[in-house]
């Protein structure tokens, strides 16, 4: 990705990226274009190159930033009304690490408001369109980031994955998307959704680029005490011999297109000499219910900070102190934000805690144990990312449960803290991209990336 020779300048790369961003304006990818800032930084980098000074590993590489990463360029809105006026006075650790290597942020990307959604239709700024079919959704919640990379506007984009928000849009747009092991990349300066599953990751066009970005951003951060001690660069990619497939996912819920894509890939793996191991993981069918108990509970807690007082939107319909909270939150949140906050408060409330929240945390233990057992039998697991390819705009947005069901294959690994990498798996007869995900044990991120290189 680096500007290795002097045939192209950072300024030219940024100008091209901005021109493409404008060309594809109707896809509604960006919530903010960093024209002035990006060109200024590009000029500085070009000057340093001309002077023979040292530049970073990502010198002049244009990238897109999901709108829930705090940075001083533009407003960090999480694609919500309640944070629409919010201009961050701090920079996220992950952003700082990218900028220290001289990457250039050309814009902030659209997402489901507060990352609540699987299609980017829950954005306050309207949906992002799929890169292959404008009548279909981009996937979500990191839809803008996925489409920015798929349409070749930028070399890479950041994302967050709480239950599939990187892997599913990567699959819907035919690119690579990595959700690392829980705790790998600092979350300092990234807007919290569900603290026990939130992860930061990337969208790229190649596994090699993913490796480079991981090497730059992974690592312990004193500002995020939930970061693991540095392991990524020290870890060795394990040679993959046995690939697991999950029998329990082989059911009517999976569309023929995804079943077919998996079958083709499995046949190819067999021919290449890999051993295919069938896994039975009966607890996984409860993972979605577990997820939609635990995650809303954490959302209800994390989003209680948006009170209309210290920062963000404050309603004009204020009569007293109480109404600052209730009116600002009522007007500032989307319906899906409200549903999740209310479900969270329901499962945590007196009389329901044991039946829902505690029960879900116990089920979570069973799911983790099933993965531990599975990785005694295989090196990596291969599954679809979601049951369907990109669906039509408006098809599911008014039926929350049918939207949640799109997450059925992506959420289990978030509950267990495992890494997952979406790899492109061709195009279906409908002309839509399909993707599959590779899943490994904790800290096997490098193995997944390396295996993806082998599968190219």
């Amino acid at each position: 990705m680096k500007i290795a020779n002097k045939t192209v300048t950072a300024t030219q790369l940024v100008k091209d990226a901005l021109a493409k961003a404008k060309h594809f304006e109707d896809y509604n990818i960006f919530t903010f274009l960093n024209e002035e800032g990006a060109l200024k930084k590009a000029a500085e980098i070009d000057k340093r190159i001309a002077n023979g000074e040292k530049v970073g590993k990502l010198a002049g590489v244009p990238y897109a930033l999901k709108d829930n990463f705090l940075s001083k360029e533009g407003n960090t809105t999480a694609s919500s009304k309640i944070l629409e006026p919010f201009k961050s006075p701090i920079t996220a650790t992950a952003v700082k690490k990218l900028e220290d290597e001289d990457a250039i942020m050309i814009g902030r990307t659209n997402m489901d408001s507060f990352a609540h959604g699987s299609s980017t239709e829950n954005s306050y700024f309207g949906p992002t369109l799929n890169s292959a079919d404008k009548a279909r959704v981009a996937g979500g919640s990191s839809g803008g980031s996925a489409v920015a990379v798929a349409l070749d506007i930028v070399e890479f984009a950041t994302g967050t994955d709480t239950g599939g928000s990187i892997r599913q849009p990567a699959s819907f747009n035919g690119i690579y998307g990595l959700k690392p092991t829980y705790g790998t990349i600092s979350r300092y300066g990234v807007i919290a959704m569900a603290s026990s599953t939130d992860c930061i990751g990337f969208f790229t066009k190649t596994p090699e680029d993913m490796d480079l970005l991981m090497s730059i951003t992974a690592g312990q951060d004193k500002n995020d005490l939930t970061t693991l001690p540095d392991y990524y660069d020290k870890s060795e990619a394990k040679e993959v011999k046995k690939v697991g497939i999950i029998k329990d996912f082989d059911n009517d819920a999976v569309s023929p297109e995804l079943s077919h894509a998996l079958k083709i890939k499995v046949e190819k793996l067999k021919k290449q000499g890999y051993e295919i191991v069938e896994l039975s993981m009966p607890s996984l069918k409860y993972a979605l219910a577990v997820y939609y108990i635990i995650v809303p509970a954490e959302i209800a807690s994390n989003l209680s900070r948006y009170d209309g007082i210290r920062y963000g939107f404050r309603s004009d319909n204020i009569t007293d102190l109480e109404s600052i909270y209730t009116s600002s939150r009522n007007e500032g949140f989307m319906d899906e934000n409200k549903r999740r906050i209310m479900i969270g408060n329901f499962v945590l409330s007196s009389g329901f805690y044991d039946a829902y929240y505690l029960k879900a945390q116990k089920a979570r233990t069973l799911i983790i144990k099933e993965y531990e057992e599975a990785f005694k039998k295989c090196d990596v697991i291969l599954t679809p990312v979601s049951p369907n390819q990109a669906f039509k705009l408006g098809e599911k947005v008014n039926d929350p449960v049918s939207m949640y069901l799109e997450d059925v294959m992506s959420v289990p690994i978030n509950l267990a803290g495992l890494p997952g990498l979406t790899i492109p798996a061709g195009t279906s007869e409908k002309g839509l991209p399909t993707g599959l995900q590779l899943i490994g044990p904790r800290r096997s991120d490098k193995t997944l990336i390396n295996f993806a290189k082998e599968l190219k």
């Binding site: 201009k87 006075p89 701090i90 920079t91 829980y182 705790g183 026990s196 599953t197 004193k222 005490l225 939930t226 693991l228 607890s283 409860y286 979605l288 219910a289 577990v290 939609y292 108990i293 209680s304 009170d307 007082i309 210290r310 920062y311 204020i318 009569t319 007293d320 102190l321 600052i324 909270y325 009116s327 939150r329 009522n330 949140f333 319906d335 409200k338 549903r339 906050i341 209310m342 479900i343 408060n345 329901f346 409330s349 039946a355 829902y356 505690l358 029960k359 879900a360 945390q361 116990k362 089920a363 979570r364 233990t365 069973l366 929350p400 449960v401 509950l415 267990a416 803290g417 904790r442």
Partner: protein
């Protein structure tokens, strides 16, 4: 679960929302279908299973008790609020 109007009102209060009657009705319907879905967990036997609250393997991450310089200044942080007066965030009167 029966999501009566009273229960929705209670959840809205816990969540700090002032919902219109129309929103209460439509959110109530959505919440009912979500709760029906998550209730399938009843089938799963979790007797003698320990709960998992986090998947971070470490415990007790200590740091020295010292003041660390912050990136944002007091002025920048105050400026994020809608109204200020005398270096304080202004809100309507409480009493």
């Amino acid at each position: 679960m029966d999501t009566s109007d009273k229960q929705i009102e209670h959840l809205a209060k816990l969540s700090d929302f002032s919902l219109s009657e129309k929103d209460s009705k439509s959110l109530g319907k959505d919440l009912e279908s979500i709760i029906n879905y998550i209730s399938q967990l009843d089938e799963l036997d979790t007797k003698d299973v320990e709960p998992t609250y986090q998947v971070f393997e470490m415990e007790n991450v200590w740091r020295d008790d010292e003041i660390i310089p912050q990136e944002a200044t007091r002025e920048e942080l105050l400026a994020l609020s809608k109204e200020q007066e005398d270096n304080q965030i202004k809100i309507p009167k409480v009493l």
